[in-house]
């Protein structure tokens, strides 16, 4: 009962601190700042926190803490806006939200999807805080029970979600996931530094591709281009159907699903090293696997929004545990948070839980309160912001292209970011066109590095144990946790393969000739073959075994798809080509014509720098494509540029420079 004697007074102290007016004011400031940054895709908690970091030093600890916590708490909530409304994954934690959120927006139910998402976020955050308050004493042994074999098994469980998201033809899902894994291995190997599909002559590739770019390329660009070709609003018919109160009722009807997914979020968040990128997929997969009627998933099932959103905010709470108890950040934004705490004179670690329990609880409950504030604000705003989906898309698209390019450039601040974005975008468009599962590709990419790391490290430690004695080795690998996770993985794959036919992005199938799907498959196969050969030439065993294995499996998958293509007639599902009919096939504008507007923006950027290129692009697009008057075109261009200048200045960001800037030294923002 000692725990109660210590914990209750500390909770009381924390409560008094949290409701201090000074604390509340800074928290609201943090929430508002976080909301405005989170709305921009690609700029998440890290950008927001580093913005306030310079002011932390010398600040009153309570106020500084409130500011940072307010900011962190609201970002996984606010990034839902772009995921649902625009089909652009706002951050790695809301990628799965896009799968059903965006189709809902297209059905005119954006407000419903948003409010369900926000109330799920709020609930997940609160549940996370409650769980945290209780487990913080016992969390240490719990966390220490998760060694490398256990983390590897969680990663494998995440990968098994590919089965349920594989689409109509499971084999194509395997190929997509394999391709994602291979793309994830580009660059220096994490263990020994060998180069894979990269060269020191192209420094950009040495670090590999960033998640922001792959997320934007695989999801955002194909959707934006497809919508733009059809020249209407995001919401089909331009109407705004069910309102935000429906979303609240949806959540209430699924409160148990929400609770379970929040639980998943807490558990995954608590384990350091896993990161937030698997939690939304596991929650989404869980929702699909346990549902009775699965037909609507992928086309706008509200449960597909509730599940990942409940888990991703609970994860932020869970992520605090390793950050505070061990001083080890559970995610990138937690790492910056840790730096901020240090500047405030606090050093998280075992001592903080024992000696400064009230501070720990203050952090936990500030997070919960900030969650309520942020999510509440978002729910109120959702009805208004949802109107965005009724605007003619052609007027919206240039702004989206601007935001996508700017977000991508933040990843490495190199023109290579923009080139990589275009290349990945084309892959995304092709995956979508030929019905390869994009979620499977993304899961593969996201988990590639950690799967390789955990495999390598667990094998190394395991074999050292086996050398000592057989028992020591078995004890290391076979634990109750790994066995449970293995069973879950097998179940997930079995259920997944049986049900994956029901989970699809497109209902209607259109097949054209055999040629286009064959050409694309040949291109994928060629890449997989080259990557496999490249991996085989690496000298260091630990650096080559993973890409080599994945490459061979992907190649086998490609061959199997080839075989099916040869055996089946051209009306078979394996030949699905969205250009052959439906929304895309009958769209008034051509694919490449539309895409070339975006290429044009990037080419102009390469010549004159981003801001000048934007000005030309905006005016040209609004005048020529959208058919506005010159005056209106200029006005819209000014609004767009003003917006991006404001944010770049606030966040102290630069714009991509072009050739012009290498000859002339121009003042900001033209640099």
């Amino acid at each position: 009962m000692e725990i109660v004697n210590v914990a209750l007074p500390a909770l009381g102290d924390a409560f008094l601190t949290v409701i201090q007016p000074q604390h509340l004011v800074f928290m609201v400031a943090g929430v508002l700042l976080g909301l405005s940054i989170g709305v921009l895709p690609g700029l998440g908690g890290i950008a927001g926190l580093s913005l306030v970091l310079p002011f932390m030093f010398g600040m009153d600890p309570i106020s500084g803490l409130a500011l940072m916590v307010g900011l962190i708490a609201v970002i996984p909530t606010s990034d839902t806006f772009s995921s649902v409304l625009l089909g652009i994954p706002g951050s790695s934690a809301s990628q799965a939200t896009v799968l059903d959120g965006f189709p809902l927006a297209r059905k005119g139910q954006a407000a419903r999807a948003l409010s369900a998402a926000f109330v799920s976020s709020l609930y997940g955050g609160l549940l996370g805080a409650i769980a945290l308050t209780m487990i913080i004493f016992v969390a240490r042994p719990l966390i220490l029970a998760f060694g490398l074999p256990e983390m590897l098994m969680i990663t494998v469980l995440g990968l098994s979600m590919v089965a349920i998201l594989a689409g109509r033809i499971p084999l194509k899902g395997v190929v997509a996931a394999g391709l994602g894994l291979l793309v994830g291995t580009i660059g220096t190997a994490p263990a020994g530094g060998s180069l894979r599909m990269a060269s020191y002559d192209i420094p950009y590739l040495v670090d590999g591709l960033q998640l922001v770019i792959v997320g934007l390329g695989i999801y955002a660009i194909p959707e934006v281009v497809s919508l733009l070709r059809q020249d209407r609003s995001i919401s089909k018919g331009g109407a705004l159907g069910q309102g935000w109160t429906v979303g609240l009722r949806d959540w209430w009807a699924n409160k148990w699903l929400s609770t379970k997914c929040a639980g998943i979020g807490v558990i995954v968040g608590v384990i350091p090293g896993l990161g937030g990128s698997v939690v939304d997929w596991i929650a989404y997969g869980y929702a699909v696997q346990t549902s009775k009627n699965r037909e609507e998933y992928g086309q706008g099932d509200i449960r597909g929004v509730i599940a990942p959103e409940s888990s991703n905010n609970a994860k932020e709470g869970g992520g605090l545990v390793p950050t505070l108890i061990f001083g080890i950040p559970g995610s990138g934004s937690m790492a910056v948070f840790l730096g901020g705490l240090a500047l405030l004179g606090m050093s998280p670690g075992p001592a903080m839980i024992r000696q400064d329990l009230d501070i720990t609880y203050t952090i936990v409950w500030s997070l919960a309160l900030a969650n309520v504030l942020g999510a509440g604000l978002c729910v109120l705003l959702s009805g208004q912001i949802a109107r965005l989906t009724t605007i003619r898309f052609t007027l919206l698209a240039p702004f989206l292209f601007m935001m996508i390019a700017f977000a991508a450039f933040q990843s490495r601040m190199s023109f290579g970011d923009l080139i990589a974005l275009v290349l990945v975008g084309v892959i995304g468009i092709m995956l979508r066109r030929f019905d390869y599962s994009r979620p499977a590709f993304l899961i593969g990419f996201v988990l590639s590095t950690q799967a390789e790391q955990f495999v390598n490290m667990a094998t190394q430690i395991g074999s050292a144990r086996f050398r000592r004695s057989f028992e020591a080795g078995i004890d290391y690998i076979v634990t109750p946790i790994t066995v449970t996770l293995l069973v879950l993985t097998v179940l997930s794959i079995v259920i997944g393969i049986r049900q994956s036919k029901n989970i699809r992005e497109n209902i209607a199938t259109y097949t054209g000739t055999k040629r286009a799907p064959l050409v694309f498959l040949a291109a994928i196969t060629a890449y997989a073959a080259i990557a496999t050969v490249d991996a085989a030439t690496i000298a260091r065993f630990g650096d080559k075994v993973f890409p080599l294995t994945v490459g061979i499996v992907t190649l086998l998958g490609c061959l199997a798809v080839f075989a099916r293509m040869i055996l089946k007639p051209e009306t078979d599902d394996v030949f699905i080509d969205l250009e052959a009919g439906g929304d895309d096939g009958e769209a008034p504008h051509s694919l490449w014509g539309t895409l070339s507007w975006f290429f044009g923006l990037l080419a102009l950027t390469g010549l004159f720098g981003f801001i000048i290129a934007l000005a030309v692009f905006f005016v040209g697009f609004f005048r020529l494509r959208a058919g506005l008057t010159w005056a209106k075109s200029a006005l819209f261009a000014a609004i767009g540029i003003g917006f991006i200048l404001f944010f770049a200045d606030l966040l102290n960001r630069d714009f991509p420079p072009g050739l012009l800037q290498s000859y002339f030294d121009l003042p900001w923002p033209f640099t």
Binding site: F326, L343, M457, S662
Partner: protein, 364 residues
């Protein structure tokens, strides 16, 4: 507002700025009122260098003439070589750009990493910060430690490591010299993850830099879960390695090495270890101005950092963030800079051969 200059700031600009410098009065160069000083680090927002830079930025803003706005800029990538390559091309001469490196930037340079396109000797050092490190063992193995490591020669050690060419090169080489059979598990994200592996019992030897040791390992030592074995020590004014004042009770690697059979504090292995220790710890973090900056600007920064060190509250402010290690300014910074980027060809060859042979890691 002055932003980061493009990497391709061309010859026209070079000539223009040179001309401007020739005619500008010195006083003008020494007042940064209304300007923005950018302290760029080649790391992300989440590492130790970010903490270090964010600690100094507000102090610099107060100490520089004209009290300019000071911000931290992040250019991560390529194990810090991307940012350093970028800085190499910068010609900002008015003092609005400074660059912070760490051992992770020094090591690739010393080892001849192909990604390195920067030359330390082109830059002008204005500050050097040191740090230390402590090696520790789990309690059961620690019980067999009696001032030397002779009794632990037969043991198999697992060590969580960020990579053989990172700062972990220093402990790995020390383990090899001591004759310990250590198998490094490469690929952890930070030293914190190594400590977690140690706490989970997956690793059974680990080291932490001073501040992390103080906050996270000392509690383990107090609970008898860990036993400190040795610190790296610090350099005294004469260049000798002596006990770290932060850990006066923990012997240095030099002491343990002398006590352990088969380990010598002379010869090529020792010279190599010493060179990388100085570069990675004794002068771990350095602040540079671009080569183009005139002497007045260098003097202005030297003065600003001297003023910061002279603040009555500096010892208290820095203890938590930087530890009680020397912060070297002016001539001291230049000496530290020289030591951090100098390694004999013999020592370099020795380390490269050892890396290739022991870990299959090559610099190609």
């Amino acid at each position: 507002m002055s932003k980061i200059k493009t990497p391709h700031a061309g010859t026209a600009f070079l000539a223009a700025s040179a001309a401007a410098l020739a005619f500008a009065a010195p006083a003008a160069a020494q007042d940064l009122a209304g300007k923005t000083v950018e302290f760029v680090i080649p790391f992300s927002e989440s590492g130790g260098s970010a903490r270090w830079a964010n600690f100094f930025t507000p102090l610099l803003s107060e100490a520089l003439p004209g009290n300019p706005t000071a911000i931290v800029g992040y250019r991560p990538g390529g194990g810090s070589t991307t940012g350093a390559n970028w800085f190499q091309e910068q010609t900002t001469a008015d003092g609005t750009l400074i660059f912070g490196t760490s051992g992770s930037t020094q090591f690739p340079y010393l080892l001849g990493d192909p990604r390195v396109r920067y030359e330390y000797r082109d830059w002008q050092p204005v500050l050097a910060s040191g740090t230390g490190g402590v090696v520790y063992l789990p309690a059961d193995l620690g019980a067999r430690f009696d001032g030397d490591l002779d009794d632990l020669q037969g043991e198999f050690f697992i060590f969580g490591s960020q990579g053989a060419t990172t700062l972990d090169l220093v402990p790995l080489l020390a383990f090899k010299m001591l004759g310990l059979q250590v198998e490094p598990v490469f690929g952890i994200e930070g030293r914190g993850d190594g400590r977690l592996m140690f706490e989970r019992g997956e690793a059974n030897i680990d080291y932490q830099t001073s501040s992390a040791y103080l906050s996270n390992v000392v509690p383990l030592v107090e609970q008898n879960l860990a036993v400190p074995v040795m610190s790296w020590g610090i350099l005294d004014d004469a260049g000798n390695i002596v006990r770290d004042p932060t850990f006066p009770d923990i012997p240095t690697f030099a002491e343990i090495c002398e006590a352990t059979a088969g380990c010598e504090t002379s010869g090529v292995a020792w010279d190599a270890w010493r060179a990388f220790f100085v570069s990675g710890f004794a002068a771990q973090k350095l602040v540079y101005l671009p080569g183009a900056a005139p002497q007045e600007v260098v003097d202005m920064y030297t003065q600003a950092f001297t003023d910061i060190m002279a603040r009555p509250d500096f010892a208290e402010l820095s203890a938590a963030e930087l530890g009680v290690y020397p912060q070297m300014v002016g001539e001291g910074a230049r000496v530290a800079h020289e030591a951090a980027i100098t390694v004999s060809d013999e020592a370099r060859t020795y380390v490269l051969e050892w890396l290739a042979e022991a870990y299959g890691v090559t610099m190609q």
